[in-house]
Symmetry: C2
DNA sequence: CGTGGGTTTGACTATACTCAACTACGGTGG
DNA sequence: CCACCGTAGTTGAGTATAGTCAAACCCACG
């Protein structure tokens, strides 16, 4: 990972804290910097002419974004929640790419983005919405320290964000969450917290134990 | 584009001709080389446990594929039709990435793949199947010399390939083609040839004209 | 404490999937 | 060269799934 590469410490960079819903850069705008997420969550998205939004990827702490040597951004980047970033100005990109010691790491960073998009793309084609949602939650749990039994997943984005990521209507997302909970696969602790039930626990479909 | 970079001429490479339906490399296998398509068409695909296939991208002449410095392929690569490739062995990858003159071009190649996947991903979320298919055909026409009025698009892949790329059942693809033809948007000349009607010129040209 | 955006729920509709039968094409062998 | 066969593609009927429109609801925020 680029994070572990010492070369990054020597290129110019600084911290940047943003509130939720702030645009970092817009679609098709000229790249001026790239970023690493330190805290929070950034969504990479495009907005169609019909006004509908498609989220291509979520960037969590440790992820890089905006690494596009081309002359225009392929997607806009906005914070899903309050987020802290490290900014690397464009000049650093050129220096990185030309430094023989750094270039392989840079390529690796680009390939991570490829893997991320490819993983997202492969889920789109087939499978039910429930599968997609479970896959998304498991990915989140994995990023938050492994998907152990009864892992509590923090959702650093709104339902609408998740729906636009999965490519479904937010009503459908809401209904799907309810269905998964009814089947005992997940449990909605709060609006931004979901408990993943282990597969082994599926055998005993726990009905809502907590009395009102 | 990497194609235009002279450094590629100096790294070891050779030609390879393959018949249709041949696997170039398999999913999760260790990368031994990367490739440039000279003629034909390659599909990058993953196969789910349910046997269903999702095609992530089609690689047409000029495109690179298999550029993954990681330790395993993110997707399998197979020829959709008889295809001619230039093979660059793994040793060339390391050399390219470490050569200060080549590294930017290498990064650019990776970014092209990112753009390709991102473009595919953004169409998935919203819009009708007809839109997706028209977008696909226009992309093909664009790659085959611009989408002028009445452009004849050669389809270098089967209907099943197209369906798996768009993430729809092949029956749905067949019906959608029929519907588009009935609406006068396209005309099926033969099984592997479709004429794009000038009505589609209403939409914005994705082709870049001369700089202002 | 009130407001407003995000979220949930309901009823209805549109769209694409599935299963199944049928047809056309391309390649092969007589 | 033609007949045959197998694969790819098309068409049809019925069904399942998610979208749309609309309204209620619930927090989080000021």
């Amino acid at each position: 990972m680029l994070t572990d590469h010492p070369a990054l410490d020597y290129v110019k960079h600084w911290r940047l804290a943003l509130p939720r819903g702030r645009m970092i850069y817009d679609e098709a705008e000229a790249p001026k910097a790239f970023y690493r997420v330190e805290r929070g969550c950034v969504r990479l998205q495009t907005t169609g002419m019909d006004g509908r939004r498609q989220i291509l990827a979520f960037c969590l702490p440790g992820d890089f974004l905006g690494f596009e040597p081309g002359r225009s951004r392929m997607a806009a980047a906005e914070t899903s929640i309050a987020t802290e970033l490290t900014v690397f100005p464009w000049s650093a990109i050129a220096r990185l790419a030309e430094d023989p010691r750094c270039a392989p790491a840079v390529v690796a960073a680009a390939c991570e983005m490829i893997s991320s998009l490819a993983a997202h793309l492969r889920t789109f084609g087939h499978g039910s919405v429930e599968d997609h949602l479970m896959g998304f939650l498991e990915w989140l749990a994995d990023r938050q320290g492994g998907l152990s039994a009864g892992a509590v997943v923090q959702l650093p984005m709104s339902r609408r964000d998740i729906a636009d990521f999965l490519g479904i209507a937010n009503e459908t997302l809401s209904r799907t969450i309810g269905r998964l909970e009814a089947r005992g696969l997940i449990q909605v602790a709060s609006r931004r917290e979901i408990v993943l039930h282990p597969i082994s626990m599926r055998s005993q479909p726990s009905r809502r134990a907590a009395a009102p």
